[in-house]
């Protein structure tokens, strides 16, 4: 099976022209486009059942609550979570990590403890730990990289000494590298540490099963998986979440409030203070339906095929003039291509591409420690998703040479 060839027609934005060219959207690692079904689902909510959830006894309030809780159940199924109560809605992956750091970290980390992350983490899985470390005095330790952009796990046993939490991305948003989460999780567990996983680039692109991954906690973000912005997920094993104190306080997250204190609500509401982003949750549920209807195995196969095509097309055409960071084998990576073309600065490259309607990201991709390891200030990143096809890759390939003429030193 493969993905339908007319998939682009499901995404209204992709029918636009930019600077006189049909838009070529190659920045899905930053945020994906949204299919009609997602836009419609949110629209429908506002048009027909807009009401606050978990509060009113009247019909539309009940329907809104029902729609939101259905979305939660869909997400649980989508990632193989044993229970929908383990799905906590947040604002985005960043908030999910802040929740873990504040809540779990605040309770469990002290001066002699260690949190183990890696050199390829997104700032979302770095800075919350750094903020907390400044308060609590624990050590933040880093798994280094191999020259070909994998995690260097040769010293993992030594690195795990004294570690209470391992928090690693399942797929790098710069290198595309897919990390051996299960292997790391098993080792983490063997020293009594918890395993948190950044699924921001993984869940949208590969079949995900939290149990098979061996994760205790998983963070991901709706807008990279055909869903709206403003909605993210923290999944955690019930036992782990249950033991964690609340993060934000307010309405919805309590069972009782008295002058002398409060009783926190049950999972997942304990972590969902205040009125949730109801439309966004429903939109994300529709995104999950959309991706499920495509089949995540087919999504993954499509991306392997297209990544392979892109890697070949770019290196055949440009040879030594181009560096594509990360693993060279498409089956070991996702469709994120961080490109260095001659000595054209990524910002200039993306500007020239923009003139041709091609959207790529230029910058440090919120992974500055990784940029330092790579010895670059920035890269131009083209990233692929379900709606991309060979014509998008061809447009990119064609357009590098003109940028080179203008800017090569």
């Amino acid at each position: 099976m493969s993905l339908p060839s007319d998939l682009k027609s499901n995404f209204p934005l992709l029918s636009q022209t930019i600077n006189g060219h049909q838009i070529v959207y190659l920045d899905s690692a930053a945020s994906s486009q949204k299919p009609d079904v997602v836009i419609e689902a949110m629209n429908n909510y506002y048009r027909t059942i807009n009401a606050n959830v978990h509060r009113g006894a009247y019909q539309i309030a009940a329907e809104a609550t029902e729609a939101m809780e259905q979305a939660r159940a869909k997400l649980a199924t989508f990632i193989g979570a044993p229970s929908a109560n383990e799905i906590v809605f947040t604002k985005n992956a960043t908030e999910s990590f802040n929740l873990i750091a504040r809540s779990w970290g605040g309770q469990n980390l002290g001066p002699n403890d260690v949190v183990l992350i890696s050199d390829m983490e997104h700032h979302a899985n770095i800075v919350p730990w750094q903020i907390l470390s400044a308060e609590k005095g624990f050590e933040l330790r880093w798994i280094p990289l191999t020259p070909d952009g994998h995690l260097d796990l040769s010293q993992l046993d030594r690195l795990l000494n004294g570690v209470k939490m391992v928090s690693i991305t399942a797929m790098s948003n710069v290198l595309g590298t897919l990390n051996p989460i299960r292997e790391i999780a098993d080792k983490a567990h063997s020293v009594g540490a918890l395993m948190a996983v950044d699924g921001s680039q993984y869940v949208p692109h590969l079949p995900t099963n939290v149990v098979e991954l061996g994760a205790d906690l998983l963070c991901f973000t709706g807008h990279k998986m055909c869903g709206p912005t403003g909605i993210g997920v923290l999944w955690g094993r019930a036992e782990v979440l249950d033991a964690m104190p609340p993060f934000l306080g307010g309405g919805e997250m309590i069972l009782d409030v008295r002058r002398d204190g409060f009783t926190p609500n049950e999972l997942p509401h304990k972590f969902e203070a205040g009125t949730p982003p109801i439309a966004e949750i429903i939109g994300l549920g529709a995104a999950v339906d959309f991706l499920s209807s495509l089949g995540m195995s087919d999504v993954r196969q499509h991306e392997i095929d297209l990544t392979d095509y892109a890697l070949r097309a770019l290196t055949d055409r440009y040879g030594e003039e181009i560096t594509i960071h990360g693993p060279s084998n498409a089956s070991e990576r996702g469709g994120v291509l961080s490109i260095q073309y001659r000595d054209v600065h990524p910002h200039d490259l993306s500007q020239v591409l923009d003139q041709r309607g091609i959207c790529v990201r230029a910058g440090h991709h919120c992974a500055k420690p990784l940029m330092r390891e790579l010895g670059v200030g920035a890269t131009a990143r083209a990233s692929l998703y379900v709606y991309n096809d060979k014509s998008d890759v061809d447009a990119l390939t064609e357009s590098l040479a003109p940028a080179g003429e203008l800017f090569a030193l």
């Binding site: 910002h347 200039d348 500007q351 910058g363 200030g377």
Partner: protein, 155 residues
Amino acid sequence: MAGLEDLYKEIIIDHYRNPRNRGELDSPPAHKTEGFNPLCGDEVLLTFALKGEIIEELLISGQGCSISQASASMMSAAVQGKSIGEVRDLTRQFKAMMSIHEESIGADDPPPGDGHAFELGDLEALKGVVKFPVRIKCATLSWNTLLTGLDELEV
């Protein structure tokens, strides 16, 4: 629609390819100040030597896109031999060209200089950047970095 030719004037490409005053002075005695554009990862390191109130020499290192590098190169040529007050005036004039006006910049922006108006010369070529709002930060990076460096002298 603004075209690439509005942005990438020949003189900009020339400064990008042949940057003036590249390098680092020994610091100390030279003053040293660093700036970042968190959006795109550009970094600039300025070292400059003062003789009294006059910027006697200013060197630039770091890395960045054509706009940030060309702007830094042009700035280095424009500020040598000027007094601190004159440099503040020139910076204000340059930022005004970038559509950044006094009222829209924060309270920590430059105290009034000596009120000179300068020929912008090569710097005029950067005017087209205004049509590409995301690139304005590239053009102003080295200027803001220099202002920070000058402010540090005063405390």
